[in-house]
Subunit: 321 residues, 4 copies
């Protein structure tokens, strides 16, 4: 199989190129981007491939998705931007600040949280790859809420991400001398674009409206997300841990572990590790760790491609950190 | 004034030495420790000084505090260990795992959270310097709870600290190659020794039992603590921010700011910066940032010394990061 | 005394503000820059002060220096840019790529390598503050060459600097995710602007032409320069170390130490530490460490101001790391 | 093929495990070490495998090499320690401070600098894997000296390594708070154990005695070595670059590049990148970059195993950073 990468000079796109180099069944057909040896994005549309990854800025990505659906109808397209994650053009405008460029695609692409929506991804020709924070929160929260293990009305996520999560953007606050040795919260008050994405999935999975508290922080590391998810438990922590483990039994990439997971345990792997603890009487905490560029982006995109194409789901996806 | 530092080769002791070098009214009389140019601890007892800082491991510190109280009754002793922070020998044994070495001192040393207990510190000859996490949580929580600004029964602290907080200890998990680029939680489930210290102060200040959720994390930075404190507000966030600002009006080291504070804004200063935000409907978040080695340890110890000796409270304590 | 800082939002300017906050005899009169609470640069010219620090980009700095010399003739101006470091307008054009904006100033400002040119700085009203790399290389090399301790024709400097040395510039290669965990050389082949500055001083001090090999590297740290200076010795290493120590005897900021100095030993101090070793038979190595923002910029600028104004030379300049 | 790893809890051993997980033709048979799920070292001797990697401390490693040679004569043993790198027991005692535990093995194991000694490695049953610094210096220096491109009597190496190079050792100077933000030289004066290893190879390859200047530094990064190699050129830099490129033409892992290589370009790959520049008139500099855990240790060990077993040489070895 041949796959092309649009946007291969960004951090997510580079990670796709790196992971595809070790994929036993998919090889890189072309890549577009701003640096030497890359095609211009438009030229990517002329390339023949079995799959196309869109690691482009939001807005632009939807345009390419629409073009590829029309011009390469047999190919699989995985969109790693946020363009296809919300349900309606109104929601999109509210959260992304501009009109959607291809509203006809909304609702047509399964949300590629692979372990949860595998059946929808199988055979799909357009997949919307989840956000990195959203993946770290939803993998524990979908079973916790769907199985009724915690109260649905008091879920709080204190999340921390490495700086690649902000992309390769020329912003003063992303300079080395601003990030190194530093740490801070940002976008409190449900201001982050992953909030509607998470609440949308939780609503769809549970049939009820879920309102999350979500506070992200910028870690002085390149890769990795650790989310601390606090909720009111309906069962003892040990039973909840066992239920989560059972829910994910047989999954190659999701594991329930005993000790709070470290970023280094998931670095450059497609793993999501989670641990469950009684934080206080009547208060549960679940820690979920993943690599934002792998399970939070490029790795899950390849996992979705594998599923969509009927390849072995774990092909090319590391699990040893 | 002359001050001696016991334990000047640890990170806190070194910080005391560094800060005293710029103090306009106190000079370093001696220092003990394990490296070149330091006295052995016992020899410190023979040194004449106006003040003694104990930056020693818990257990040992109480012994030196007791000796100094007897042998240097006119001098000020500031204990930076946890030995004098809890009220009873039973509590101490529970949390520190061994008998208290000088139980007669328990209850005799004011808890040096200076802005809160300044009146008790004034003129004291023995001061118990607060824990670093405790300082970051109590500076916002004491007024929040005492003024009835938040519900007292649902306070959650997700705290993150730099690695100097663990001391200069030969532990494999503190090696550069284990900490750099990594991040994780530890001691969930109210297992950290600062929990009883915080709950003790909050109980004393509010007259009621407070049970905290407290989850600390290890940041890949040398200095700094950022605590995210979540609670149910009784007033709008803006009013709560204004009330906090009024509570600390005139204080040189505690400031309420508009944006989530960064560690770099407090690095090597004696500041504690805090910001207040509506995290979600019915959920408040307060971010509090300080340098664990300064306001969280050596700086606050000097602040207490200044108050105890009647010197200008801010002498020798930086506020520009 | 009142001092103003032009360019107080850059890393050097911020360091000036931080250091002046602890200066016992000079206080900050105003600051200009791009952020809140700063004047626009032009407004700085209207401010009355005893001293003006120019932490501005090259080109711009010379303009302000010329204006201040005319409009504030009694004040001391310390220029931290490279505008006044070279001798001729031709050299300046060659190395800085544009015409000099105030060529009449060239040759009028002593080169403020304080320990070497103290007599010229005393009473000066315009001082050219040295480059950071240049300071780290010249402090050892001036006595080594002037005292004939090493061969003059085979001096090689392998230098490493923290990222603040590049300034607060929006360049992709200065993003956190590009610098963290990374390391590389740049500008080999005598391409760095500090080369003519170093060779100019060495020529002036020794009366002969010195050609240096100079290779700088970018360290993944915020502060600090370590230069490894290799040369052919004319005397045993121990004698050379003793001669250097004697040359700098009584200096508060330059010290010859036994072990290779660490950046952490000079961080946030005005120190330059150097050690001397036989690297191989017939090959000497001198390691010189300083903080590029302090002794390499803002600290040395204040040292020069102290000397120019007749204040105690070490006032406000930390020596404890 | 099945391979076992002795010492799989150290950084080198862990890297072997990580790389073998992606090797298409070799799988991990067992691993020994101090943590959960590892065998004790002695039990490793009882395991049947086609290949054994020794990632053990020096001294111990030779014992296991000797045992494996006797008890598993058909298997390939790759020793990653320094035990088999020097030629004589006397040299070993001088540099390692104790008697050699299996002197009969000295001289029997080819030095696995694969690109240089490939013919000797082919079919070997015992391979001595090179040191990390040595690999970074020898890959450029062997052709430079053998082809007469530089003067042999004035070669100077200023080398910088990440902290994994020191191993997972409980030393205070390797704590996060000692390494982060810091940088220093160590072991100047030809005191590093890789000096005799490098000089031995260069002597063997050129037929003359080479005396190197070698100064290593500790970088505040986990992985990577960058060596700056200075020498007197006999040809223009461009010709030397071309000759090096020709020497390594067709090699999958050694590349001559135009710009000074960055550690990030070789991170987690088996690449060694080098660039060649005129540093000054009559002075050449070659920068060589590799990942000390991959091409400098585990990767080259697998490369040697591939060659020894007749597998494709590049199997399982990444080249995309």
């Amino acid at each position: 199989m041949r796959a092309g990468v649009f946007g291969a000079t960004g951090y997510t796109g580079r990670e796709l190129v790196r992971l595809l180099a070790a994929h036993p069944e998919v090889r890189l057909a072309f890549r577009t981007g701003s640096a030497d040896g890359h095609l211009k994005h438009e030229l990517g549309l002329e390339q023949d491939a079995d799959a196309y990854f869109l690691a482009l800025p939001h807005g632009i990505s939807a345009e390419y998705a629409a073009r590829l659906r029309r011009e390469r109808p047999g190919a699989v397209v995985v969109d790693l931007s946020g363009d296809l994650r919300l349900s309606t053009a109104d929601d999109y405008r509210t959260w992304y600040g501009h009109d959607h460029k291809a509203p006809e695609l909304l609702g047509t692409a399964p949300y590629g949280l692979t372990e949860i929506y595998r059946d929808r991804v199988r055979g799909a020709r357009l997949v919307s790859n989840p956000g990195c924070y959203a993946t770290s929160a939803l993998l524990p929260l979908v079973p916790l809420l769907r199985l009724g293990l915690v109260e649905p009305d008091d879920v709080l996520i204190d999340a921390k991400s490495g700086a690649t999560g902000a992309g390769r953007t020329l912003r003063e606050d992303l300079l080395f001398c601003e990030v190194d040795g530093d740490f801070s919260a940002y976008a409190p008050g449900r201001a982050h674009r992953h909030v509607p994405e998470m609440e949308g999935v939780l609503g769809e999975r549970t049939g009820r409206t879920i309102t999350l508290t979500f506070c992200p922080h910028l870690l002085p590391v390149k890769r990795g997300i650790l989310s601390a998810i606090y909720a009111k438990p309906r069962r003892p922590a040990a039973e909840i841990a066992a239920a989560l483990a059972e829910f994910y039994a047989g999954e190659p990439f999701v594991r329930v572990v005993a000790k709070p997971p470290r970023l280094s345990e998931v670095e450059r792997t497609n793993l999501c590790l989670m641990s469950v603890h009684e934080a206080a009487p009547g208060r549960l905490v679940v820690f979920a760790a993943l690599d934002n560029l792998v399970k939070g982006a490029a790795g899950q995109a390849i996992q979705n491609l594998n599923v969509a194409l009927g390849l072995p789901e774990a092909a090319g996806l590391p699990v040893v950190a």
